[in-house]
């Protein structure tokens, strides 16, 4: 006997809303927001964003997991309106949704994992300055940038309303972090001595692009007591990257490292290119095998039965003194220059490890 799978049930139609004054409570009562207030997605405002995109409203971007509801330009616009996105910002939202649907990002996993990784949106190109994305003080948080807050919130609402990303069921994230409410930063180009992350990921120089990466909250790296030697300074970043409790340290994957313009200039003045920084961090951010996987009753030795098969073959798992890198390759260190152009500083956003959430870049289609 076989059975035909019933089509997934569409959400119950929204009841009538008689008065816009009731909208905030209505949105909460019907689960249209994660708790923060939102604007009402009226047809006129949604149509304005659709028109600005230059694409048909029914153009399909894909199904947003885990609920697998269809993201069209119109439904994404409805969520963008709720977040306060303006017409000139909306193409950035569409590019970010498209990037998150790339298989490398593993959005289904990012949405439902127990781990506290959340989409970090990095905007690059001339639109960063033109639209006012956050690049200065408080770049990862309350930056007072409407563009960053609105675009970040729009993506969160897409994942909430179209993806059905409700904590508990199906989202199993144990702790999470405030960045899941929406994280969107701008990447500095003029003040940075290196190519941008977007360019490193294939975007044409000078073009507007969006990169999405699933990362933990930004962790501060201050250069207390450090000399000017680049390797010594980078070792402090490497120490945070290879923290014993994060996924990268045990499974590799990717890690985002943000440098303030002052620190980036310092390293560049010492002769380090972007690739040099990546290589040095790849070499320094390592842990001994016997620290990562100490012997114990259930794993008394380095028998191949206990090997981690997610590590590449060049990691010698038979030796306790093998130094295991915390990212898959030098290119897996996602270097971004942003933040206050005041003093040298850095920040590390560990990733989800080898499990997904890998950086995906899309050029913005205006």
């Amino acid at each position: 006997m076989t059975e035909t799978v019933a089509a997934p049930t569409a959400p119950a139609p929204l009841p009538d809303l008689a008065d816009l004054a009731d909208w905030p409570e209505y949105a909460l009562a019907h689960g249209l927001t994660d708790g923060l207030p939102v604007y009402p997605p009226t047809p006129e405002r949604v149509a304005a964003l659709v028109t600005a995109s230059g694409r048909p409203g029914d153009a399909v971007l894909g199904a947003i997991p885990p609920a697998d509801r269809i993201a069209t330009v119109e439904t994404v616009a409805a969520n963008a309106v709720m977040a306060g996105v303006t017409a000139d910002q909306f193409p950035v939202v569409l590019a970010a949704v498209d990037a998150m649907l790339d298989d490398a990002f593993n959005l289904r996993g990012v949405q439902t994992t127990t781990h506290g990784c959340a989409p970090i949106v990095v905007v690059s190109g001339p639109c960063v300055a033109r639209l006012g994305f956050a690049t200065a003080e408080s770049v990862f948080g309350a930056s007072a940038s409407h563009a960053s807050m609105a675009v970040g919130r729009a993506l969160r609402l897409v994942l909430w309303n179209l993806g059905g990303a409700t904590p508990g069921e199906p989202v199993k994230e144990v702790f999470g972090h405030p960045g899941r409410l929406g994280t969107c930063i701008g990447e500095l180009a003029d003040a940075a001595p290196w190519p941008t992350l977007a360019e490193a990921n294939g975007a044409a120089p000078g073009h507007d692009a969006v990169t999405v990466f699933a990362g933990e909250a930004a962790q501060s790296v201050a250069f207390w007591g450090a000399h000017d030697d680049p390797r010594e300074r980078l070792s402090r970043i490497a120490d945070v990257m290879a923290a014993l409790g994060n996924n990268n340290t045990h499974t590799m994957g990717e890690c985002l490292v943000a440098f303030t313009p002052a620190e980036a200039r310092h390293l560049a003045a010492a002769g380090l290119s972007r690739a040099d920084v990546q290589r040095t961090l790849f070499d320094l951010a390592r842990r001994r095998l016997d620290v990562l996987r100490p012997p114990g009753p259930l794993r008394p030795d380095h028998d191949p039965a206990h090997f981690y098969d997610w590590w590449p073959d060049w990691v010698d798992q038979t030796r306790p003194d093998t130094l295991v890198p915390c990212v898959s390759s030098p290119e897996s260190v996602l270097v971004v220059v942003t933040g206050a152009d005041s003093i040298p500083w850095a920040a590390v956003c560990p990733g989800w490890g080898h499990l997904g959430g890998f950086a995906v870049t899309r050029e913005v289609q205006w």
Binding site: T4, A7, L14, L20, L32, T42, A78, G109, L162
Partner: protein
């Protein structure tokens, strides 16, 4: 007066026409699908599956060998080839984590 709104929740993906595998009323074959092949923290799902397999065999008089396998990457869906191996199973137990 009714305020018009665009529903931000969209519509579900269309999976009509997809078919469920045969599910006999009495279990005849069990499947165990492990999410992670490596031993991250302990004896893992493998040992648990052995115990559960024996218990279910006794209870339902199952004689057919169980189908076992693991996903290459725990965070991703099993691919179609892997799922096909379980198509004759009456029930599949999925080990989610450690």
């Amino acid at each position: 007066m009714v305020i018009e709104l665009v529903d931000p929740r969209g519509r579900p993906a269309d999976v009509s026409g997809a078919r469920l595998a045969v599910r006999p009323a009495t279990p005849v074959r069990l499947g165990f699908l492990v999410n992670e092949p490596g031993r991250v923290a302990g004896p893992s799902f493998g040992r648990y599956a052995e115990v559960l397999d024996g218990w279910l065999r006794d209870r339902f008089a199952i004689t057919a060998p169980a189908v076992t396998g693991f996903k290459p990457v725990l965070s991703r869906r099993a691919d179609a080839d892997l799922l096909d191996r379980y198509s004759e199973c009456s029930a599949v137990v999925n080990g989610l984590a450690k």
